[in-house]
Amino acid sequence: MRPIFLLMFLILGCGESPLLHHKNEKKNPVSGIFSLQSVPTFSVLKYQFKIDWDETPKLGGNKFDLKMWDMNRGSDQGPFHDPPTEMNIFLWMPAMGHGSSPVKISKIDTGEYRVSEIYFIMGGTWQIKFQLIQNSKVIDEVDLTYHL
């Protein structure tokens, strides 16, 4: 049995074994932008928006309210405006090169949206991509990054 234990010791010692060197997932371990210090801006079309999470972003299901305004006519206190083009929101994991299932965007009022079914399916760095699309082309994009 001694050679087997020696072999296992050597193998485990070769690299950093995840079993011996890991941390445990904590509740709401997110870092990144969740209370926005600066206002996300679509620089080409001069629109801004703010988001209010129902709770701190976490693995699993998430929801937020989005309010958008034309920088020339509104502010974060209103009035709010619909984007001048089609809006697309989706999740993306840059390091993995893949995303998650589609989010659900429901219009509440002019310039006000409820975004739900935001599923961060695994731990790591995620981006929420906000895109304004015209004629099937992305003409403006804002990415918010979260570390879960």
């Binding site: 995840p18 890991h22 941390k23 997932e25 697309n88 992305v138 994009e141």
Partner: protein
Amino acid sequence: MKLILLIIFSLLSWNSFGASCCVSNTSIPNLMILPSKWQQTFGFSQARVIGDVDVKGTSTFRAKDNKETTTAARMDLAYGWTFRYQTGVSLKYQNKSRQFDDAQANNSGWSDVGLSHAYAPSMFDRLWIFQTVNIPTATSVYDAKSSLAVDAQGSGTYFTGLGFFKINNFKEGDLTFGGEAHRSFGRDIHTAQSDTHLNSYWGGSFSFGGGYVPWKSKMRLGTNFTPRLEGPKTGTNNGTQIKGKQSLVWDSVINATYSFDAQYAAGVSYLDQTLIGPVSNTILVRSLSFVFQSRF
């Protein structure tokens, strides 16, 4: 004794089920080690994701209420056209279940179809050279529609692998070696929300292991270790550049197989991706699988 050993080793190239989102599970196909016309291998497995690893190699083990399991039934058919040349097909039906404290979803469906062929050159003893092909017939994470992406049952891309598998026997034991390099081909994937173009990328794995036949029985106890490397995924997503990072994970497997006779064999296998590092940019899986094989 040699024939008995050969019968016992019939399940040697059988793969353990290491479901992973990040590193393809392509490796050695279920080769027909014994000279037969047909071989059927039926497997049943349950895999659970234990943790996530970031690009720096930091592992985070998931909390109890963050469950991701895949239960799979798999069938591999191999046909020997000649003594040295064989072809095979692999089909897998699986159920993926994802659960958080406030959300849960599950989905059942067919995974990708795998094809393979292998040749045993006459100048080498018990060495097979093989090629595998993955056909992305299943939904992948790039076009998943269900909550929590549980309908992502496949890899999303065509890929082909080229490799070898070698067995060295000695008395009551054996050493096995295998390696493969695979190429994933570029693909355009369109959904209502996104247009994704994936560029082609390389990956590879190398497997080494050994086994022991105790008490001159019909049972073999074995182990093998397989580092798997997957190249970075690049491409575009809705006009934005994808610049993924490479992934690395190690499979550690222990298994026990029993050969009833020359026609029938069964086995059980435990796979653990948390034991050996370094690892990076991947998920870590543990799985338990059972397999039954018949040939004629």
